[in-house]
């Protein structure tokens, strides 16, 4: 037998191995959380590095699973994000007595995402999707005692079950009209008859649900608010990123014949998503909820990038996701530390934050600026490139719309900054000692936010490996 299978699957295998290892550790004699956490973070680091070792194109299981440079890169991004999250949630997990379960759930879901990204077949795709969703639902309920947590988990599992039902209906019709499940063959059979189109719409709504595009986004805010910060950041960054990668792969590779129609769908979704996301973000006070809506708005911008269906489009998408990982995780990092140490999660609690915790304040501020797209942070470049890619289509209406919405988004990002720096507060959050690991994670994020934009080779590399319609 040949070993290419090991090579192609190496990221998945590593992850699986890690999961099993954790299981055994769980079964073995209990160790102190610190040691476990350190070990895991180390392992994740190894996993991340190993991901970069070598990438080659290839496919397995006659086309069900395929991999290539860009897919590997995407997986590495996810690995990076997981590492950062796990480092940031150190403070929270240290006192938690089900550390390993948390990692079991999240890593399993990550594994599912890997398969989803590499899927070359609707069945594999579906499996990956479910494998990535269901554990998260359990993870959302990780604060077993908190009412909100269980409510969030309930909402997540129900709505995702519903959405997967819709998705499956779509897949079934697709199967019915094309007679195959493998992407490579489907493309040939796409003739755009109404049923097929309907099936495609159902499929897309499945995606739209996962990336929480309006009007399929309603679960997002509640789930984000209810679940523990670590899970929230996992949901908002990683699962979203994974689905976006898959979406762009499928749209650009598989559904090319329907390009004109999915362009229209994307436009509709974009407009709705940006607007609604902004309008709701305006009036949030809970920080996680606020970030939820802001991330919804971000997705709108991402969709503009995707809609360009060009190499630049895909590149800007991946580039933006990278930046988004850094900036969003920096923000979540601060929030998670604050909520873990003080239990405060409201923006109004952050008034006068700068007086007591200047370092955290700057991290948070830079993150918010990057999310808002203010130079010199990377967010500026990310957003600008997305819009540039979109503008290539010559549809300036949506660009102007997005540009004006950027102003709204500035309002709410800046009002958080205002709360941190300018608002007076008699009882600000007291001075906190942030665990070293989390600090490191935040610094990585900040450096990433600064460097990713200004150093052009990052984008140029991504551009070189990505492809267009």
């Amino acid at each position: 037998m040949n070993y290419t299978i090991l090579l192609h699957l190496r990221q998945e295998l590593l992850l699986a191995a890690l999961i099993f290892l954790l299981l055994f550790i769980k079964l073995g004699k209990d160790r102190s959380n610190e040691s476990i956490l350190n070990f895991i973070n180390l392992a994740l680091l190894v996993n991340l590095v190993a991901g970069f070792c070598c990438h080659e194109t290839g496919e397995l299981f006659n086309g069900m699973f395929n991999t290539n440079t860009i897919i590997v890169f995407e997986k590495n991004l996810l690995n990076l994000a997981v590492l950062l999250i796990s480092m940031q949630s150190y403070a929270w997990l240290k006192t938690n007595n089900n550390v390993i379960e948390f990692y079991l759930l999240t890593l399993t879901s990550l594994l599912g995402m890997f398969f989803m990204i590499s899927s070359g077949n609707l069945l594999m795709f579906y499996l990956g999707l479910e494998m990535s969703t269901i554990p998260l639902a359990a993870a959302a309920n990780f604060d077993l005692t908190k009412r909100k947590s269980s409510e969030a988990a309930m909402k997540l599992i129900l709505s995702s079950a519903f959405s997967s039902a819709i998705l499956l209906l779509g897949i079934s019709f697709l199967y019915g009209t094309t007679g195959t499940l493998s992407f490579s063959i489907i493309t040939a059979h796409l003739n755009g008859n109404p049923l097929q189109l309907f099936a495609f719409i159902l499929l897309v709504t499945g995606f739209a649900f996962k990336i929480s595009a309006v009007p399929f986004h309603l679960w997002t805010a509640d789930v984000y608010e209810g679940s523990p910060v670590a899970v929230t950041s996992f949901l908002s960054v990683i699962s979203k990123a994974a689905v976006l990668f898959t979406l762009v792969n499928i749209l650009y590779k598989v559904f090319t014949p329907l390009a004109s129609s999915w362009y229209l769908i994307l436009m509709v979704l974009t407009a709705a998503t940006i607007l609604i996301g902004n309008l709701f973000a305006l009036r949030q006070d809970n920080f996680k909820r606020f970030l939820a809506f802001s991330s919804i708005a971000q997705v709108g911008f991402i969709l503009i990038g995707i809609s360009s269906s060009s190499q630049a489009g895909m590149a800007s998408l991946i580039y933006f996701v990278l930046i988004y990982i850094f900036s969003n995780l920096a923000a979540f990092g601060v929030v998670s530390v604050v909520s873990a140490l003080t239990g405060k999660e409201n923006i109004s609690d952050f008034k006068g934050f700068y007086k007591t915790n200047p370092m955290l304040s700057w991290v948070l501020t830079i993150a918010l600026f990057s999310l808002a797209g203010v130079p010199p942070t990377a967010g500026f470049f990310g957003k600008l490139f997305l819009l540039m890619a979109g503008a290539a289509k010559g549809n300036y209406g949506i660009i102007i719309f997005a540009a004006l919405n950027m102003v709204i988004s500035f309002y709410y990002y800046l009002s958080v900054v205002k709360a941190i720096f300018m608002d007076e507060n008699s009882t600000p959050i007291e001075k906190m000692t942030v665990p070293v690991v989390s600090k490191i994670a935040m610094y990585i994020c900040v450096v990433g936010v600064i460097v990713t934009g200004l150093v052009s080779m990052v984008y140029d590399y991504i551009h070189s490996i990505s492809f267009g319609l």
Binding site: A312, A315, F369, V374, P375, P376, F380, L384, F385, L387, M388, A391, A392, G394, Y396, I399, I400, A403, L404, M406, V407, F410, Y411, L414, S415, V417, K418, F421, M422, D423, S456, Y459, D460, H463, S464
Partner: protein
């Protein structure tokens, strides 16, 4: 001469400020950096003139062009012409003055000076960019520091003003962005030089010119997008007001000028609208000023009126008027910075900016009052000060436009100088002259740093006012090339 230094030195200064300990170190570092910048600008001027004297006819000197984002054909392309150079000089002078007047900034001094330096870096970068992307990049770099400066160190309803300013400027830059995309996708390049060489299809120009121009217009306080100016200036701390009115409003004017050069056809098509708005801004700003009671508001509104002259000069699209616009930018920058400096000094002593509550300050603080009066006289265009040169050049230029309506616009804007006299003299008569109140009579005069700042700015004003031919020689060649661009069209028509 490497222009990148203009960005690197502020960067270095900012980093050092972050590392520094205590107000003393911080402000010394800040001042040193600013002075080095000033010297650098001086050397730049020197070698620029040397190049020109050596017969270097290139439009932009000291060009350097590195690819930044290869995939998107985005370059880090820098270079300066006379106009950019005069803007750079203006910036460097104002930065030094601004740091001097905020010498005793106790509250969060580190952050304060850091942001000031950052803001100046944005301005420098903006003026040296020859690539629209970098131009836009630096334009936005300069926005957020303003927000923080006003919001944290400001006075009055500071957060509201800061938010208003940031949002309106961001809206402006959003419009600019759309315009830039339009240019980019129809020329496949952000490079100003290349674009000017190849030109932009007329239809495209007609569609995208309004976005770009109005976008920059917001920065230049073009009516009716000027409402951020009064509140922003009034709430900002002294140095921030100086930077705001002295530098960042110039970003707008400069941008407008570049856009006009890039899209000559559209410029000719829309010039009447530009002129209309500018004239409204001039008259309207002047009359609105007349009704103000707060010194900072007076100066802020008068800035609207004065920046109207910049737009008017640009809109008239002829050599003299554009010269005038550029001179007016420099002149207004210095003058309004001086004005804000004086107001800041008065405010820091009397703790009021309401004209009604002041009076007879000339008795208690002769130096500050003299500075105030000088700023006022410059603002009402007294010969010997820069204001006169600038406004007269704009008038003569715009009068060369034989169209009757344009003549009317010129006359109307000319009428504003009377109104200017009215409000300046009202303010001076109430605040500086007249009987002094007993608690103000004991106040102290300017300190050495304030004096230094004021003298620096006054020197600038006088140099332009007494020897306008200097700056004229500096910018003439650049305006010639601009006219060449605009001329292409006229021939085409």
């Amino acid at each position: 001469m490497n222009l990148t230094l203009l960005i690197l030195i502020p960067l270095l200064t900012a980093v050092l400020i972050l590392l520094a300990k205590g107000l003393q170190q911080i402000r010394v570092i800040g001042l040193t950096g600013a002075v080095v910048q000033l010297g650098l600008a001086g050397m730049l001027l020197n070698s620029f003139l040397a190049e020109r004297a050596a017969g270097n006819k290139a439009t932009y000197l000291f060009e350097s062009d590195q690819t930044w984002f290869k995939a998107l054909n985005i370059h880090y392309h820098i270079g300066i012409d006379g106009i950019a150079l005069s803007m750079i000089l203006l910036t460097s002078v104002i930065v030094v003055a601004g740091i001097l007047v905020s010498w005793t900034m106790e509250k969060l001094s580190k952050e304060y000076f850091f942001l000031l330096v950052l803001l100046s870096m944005g301005a420098y970068g903006f003026f040296i960019s020859l690539d629209l992307f970098t131009l836009f990049f630096f334009l936005e770099v300069a926005v957020i520091p303003k927000f923080l400066l006003i919001g944290i160190w400001g006075s009055g309803d500071k957060t509201k003003s800061a938010m208003k300013l940031a949002l309106m400027l961001m809206a402006g830059s959003a419009l600019v962005m759309v315009g830039l995309f339009g240019i980019y996708y129809n020329t496949q390049s952000f490079d100003i030089v290349q674009i000017t060489q190849h030109g932009i299809p007329v239809g495209v120009q007609k569609f995208f010119f309004p976005f770009a121009f109005l976008g920059f217009g917001v920065f230049a306080a073009l009516f009716p997008f000027h409402t951020w100016v009064p509140d922003g200036h009034a709430s900002a701390p002294t140095a921030a007001s100086m930077f705001l009115a002295g530098i960042s409003m110039k970003l707008g004017g400069y941008g407008c000028l570049r856009i006009v050069t890039l899209m000559p056809d559209a410029a000719h098509t829309y010039s009447w609208i530009i002129i209309l708005l500018a004239t409204i801004a001039i008259i309207y700003g002047a009359f609105a000023t007349m009704m103000q009671t707060d010194l900072k508001y007076i100066n802020a509104y008068s800035s609207i009126s004065h920046c109207g002259f910049v737009i008017l000069g640009i809109g008239m699209l002829n050599k003299t008027s554009i010269n005038g616009a550029v001179i007016q930018m420099v002149s207004h920058g210095l003058m309004t910075a001086l004005f804000f400096a004086a107001i800041g000094m008065i405010y820091s002593r009397t703790h009021t900016r309401l004209v009604a509550q002041l009076g007879g300050l000339l008795k208690a603080m002769p130096f500050i009052s003299t500075v105030f009066v000088i700023a006022g006289l410059c603002s009402l265009g007294l010969p010997g000060f820069s204001g006169f040169v600038a406004e007269m050049t704009v008038f003569v230029g715009s009068w060369q436009n034989p169209n009757g309506a344009y003549r009317l616009a010129t006359v109307l804007s000319g009428a504003s100088i009377v109104v200017t006299a009215v409000y300046i003299l009202r303010a001076t008569g109430r605040a500086i002259m007249g009987p002094i109140s007993t608690e103000h009579a004991v106040l102290s005069d300017a300190t050495w740093n304030e004096k230094l700042a004021a003298i620096l700015l006054i020197a600038g004003i006088l140099i332009i006012g007494l020897a306008p031919f200097l700056i004229n020689h500096l910018i003439m060649p650049s305006t010639d090339t601009i006219m060449l661009q605009l001329g292409k069209v006229v021939v085409g028509k």
